[in-house]
Amino acid sequence: MAKSQTQRVVFQPATYQGFQRGIHQIVAAVRPTLGPLPRIVALESTVSSSTMPEVLDNGGVIARRIIQIADRDADMGAMFLRHLLWHMHEKVGDGTATAAVMFQSIYDQGVRYIVAGGNAMQLRRFMETGMRVILDELSDMATRLEGKQKLAQVAESICYDPPLAKMLGEIFDIIGEYGRLETRSGRGRELEREYVEGMYWSGGVLSRQMIADHAKMRTDMENAAILISDLEIEDPRQLTPVLETTIKAGFQSLMMIVGKLSDSATAFLLSVSKDADKFRGIAVKAPQVTAADRAAALQDLAVLTGGRVLAKAAGFTPGSVKPQDLGQARRAWADRSHFGIVGGKGDPRALREHIATLRAAFEQTDEPGDRRNLRERIGKLMGGSATLWVGGATEMEIEARKELAKRTADALRGAIADGVLPGGGVSLLACRPALLHKLEQSTDPDERAAYRILIRALEAPIRTILTNAGHDASEVMAEIKGARPGHGFDVRSGQVVDVAQAGIFDSAGVQRQVIHSAVGGAALALTVDVLVHHKQPPQAMDTA
């Protein structure tokens, strides 16, 4: 059976040649996007030939869009790098073009060395040693990112859109690394932002008649009791113990978070809330994406408000509600699609411990979906959120800028967490002396080759930035080499400057990921010796 699926096995030198062709194609597509004066890449629409091509300046997305290359040997190299870049994009949101050009430099130099008689496995081993040297150097150079001005500078080095960068600098100065930011299409042409106090979840009122303020289409309650549950209440009589418990506990308003409320139960709740000055009760839908998400949201609500989750699966019923099960909040609100809490009265120590636990889980996981969920949960609990309204002349412009804003926001989160480095490729150049020192200490030819390759590869990003901006890379590199440490070339002013003073920064987390992806990935790719093709080319499934 295996024999029938295997059409062709490819050996050296065709393996390296094929891989190299594929890598060159991906890097050629991504390379123009690197630097503050990039060019963009247009991709033919996958929907219809009559629609506008997709215009992209993001290396990760560009690589993702290249789903197959006709040359099957080259396709394997291209897909190897594509996967690496997309994974990096998912994880840190930036740095893919930098990683791509470094990857290509290392791979090309490595192939030349191995073809000339070098040992691929030894080369890989020493490259990984060199990688650790670079990572240590970057860690030593990293500084903390604080203040809206510095945040805006880092944002600008990611998005090259000064108004957007300024806005994101202000937003992240307020919401912080984990803060919740929603990016929405604006109605005008400008950028606008709004800050929302408290936390909110999807799941609005279960009846339109529960909306008290018809002008704002929402209900606000003060000093409210919160029933935190996924209970499905069919019989109006089931509400009686909940309402009695609430009123006996001294509350005049109640927000019931439930899985379901029947029409008759809804009518009963509305009837007891007729005199809102005496008592108001509303029911909102428990947040639901998945069962796990709902359970997590209810748990967060319980910690926040000091209540207890009455889960259907645990056997709770409305009749089992006790006063201490009810959460409390200074304010609670709901509209047709969301409900929110301001000033939850849970134990602040428990809240801080809960957030610390979520943060630890966030740090420990690499899975992008889990990280996103955990970050959203932490963000919600931090006490506020921001909405960025992105305007523009056309829908296409708005969508492109929204995408840019999201990508920049992701990278900024990483920069706040991991600190920043001198930008414009300067931090990578500054790692060369440490590698040079290792090179001078070594007598092993494979080790020396590995450090030489990495020293040269560290120049690749800055050379590409210069070339993309229309400068003579060799000429400018000579200028930079003669300048003091920390100096680099500002392609917009056309001058050698102290990059940190000029506000040119890179995210330390992104740069570390660049090194991991480029060095680790290329070192691994160099050990690929044989390609095995299936009889039928694999179906290109991924068109995201």
């Binding site: 604080e146 100065d173 912080g176 000033g343």
Partner: protein
């Protein structure tokens, strides 16, 4: 021994007490000081010898408990006084003769502390710590207030301290039931600092007058003594643990700190002073009444032994020593 003058307390249903004292910036010349008391806000025009209520114009039916008070750094010219109460903030621009009620979003907060920007004359910025609603900020001299609690994971704010260099560093700290939080963007967002949670609540804070350079602050706790924060609150150490075992109701630093490393702490049972930045402590030189607890203090002319010191007491009296 210094002279001791005592005012008579006005008895209400609850025992009166002094929550806060706010002397005029030109106290040495004008002798003006305000005292926030459970029975209202009082003003002295003679350096603390005699006091009169300032709420007459409000025609209140019952005493309005006043939990915090601040005066403008430019009081001499703008006569601005702000008083925190159970329900919001009152502001006066005539030294307390008449009052306006500030606008807060509902529900009405219980104000526990007020802080005023050192650059108030230019930025008009004030902060109100509240018992349940975190921190409110006003940028229009106290007219309108809005909550800014991003990252403030504990909304029970017990004290607020603002950087002397606020105009440049936009830094302030709050002490809460569970520790200390710092804002470096003018109170718009907060971050936890590494204050050990087990030593909270933090009920008093004081920043070094040279905070911009030395990054030093002090935190007084309800029952676990006094702490010195370095690196802008990133690291903390307990100081005076042998001497300070009571609640630290107030901390006053010399205006020349750290050049003159003098620290006065107001304990429930007395005053302690350190003149070496914390290693050694001694009782204040003057005799203090032993039948009333101490709640707060103000040292409008510094901590020289012969400078006046105003002390608020449980019972509502203010003494000057």
């Amino acid at each position: 021994m210094a002279d001791t003058d005592t005012t008579s307390s006005e008895h209400t249903q609850l025992q009166d007490l002094v929550y806060a004292l706010a002397p005029s910036p030109h106290f040495a010349q004008d002798g003006i000081c305000f005292a926030a008391r459970r029975s209202g806000l009082y003003r002295s025009d003679d350096g603390g010898a005699n006091w009169r209520t300032t709420y007459d114009s409000l025609n209140l039916e019952a005493p309005l408990a006043t939990t915090a008070v601040v005066v403008s750094p430019a009081f001499e010219s703008d006569h601005s006084v702000l008083a925190g109460s159970q329900g919001g903030v009152l502001r006066s621009v005539d030294g307390g003769e008449s009052w306006n009620v500030a606008v807060f979003p509902p529900p009405p907060p219980i104000v526990s502390a007020l802080a005023i920007s050192p650059d108030f004359i230019r930025d008009g910025t004030l902060f109100a710590g509240t018992v349940e609603d975190g921190v409110f900020r006003s940028a229009d001299r106290g007219g309108r207030w809005s909550a800014w609690n991003f990252g403030l994971l504990d909304l029970s704010v017990l004290c607020v301290a603002i950087s002397p260099n606020f105009a440049a560093d936009e830094t302030l700290f709050v002490g809460t039931e569970t520790g200390v939080f710092r804002s470096t963007n003018g109170g718009r967002a907060w971050r936890e600092v590494n204050f050990p949670t087990e030593y909270a609540p933090v009920i008093s804070l004081a920043l070094s007058p040279d905070y911009a350079e030395d990054g030093v602050l002090f935190a007084g706790t309800e029952s676990r003594g006094l702490f010195r924060g370095a690196d802008r609150g990133d690291t903390w150490e307990q100081i005076g643990e042998d001497a300070i075992q009571d609640s630290v109701n107030g901390i006053v630093l010399s205006p020349q700190f750290p050049a003159r490393p003098e620290i006065l702490v107001v304990l429930g049972t007395g005053l302690l002073v350190s003149r070496d930045g914390g290693p050694s402590w001694s009782g204040w030189q003057a005799d203090l009444p032993t039948d009333h607890g101490l709640t707060c203090a103000a040292a409008p002319q510094g901590l020289d032994p012969d400078a006046p010191l105003l002390i608020g007491l449980v019972g509502g009296d203010v003494i000057r020593i």
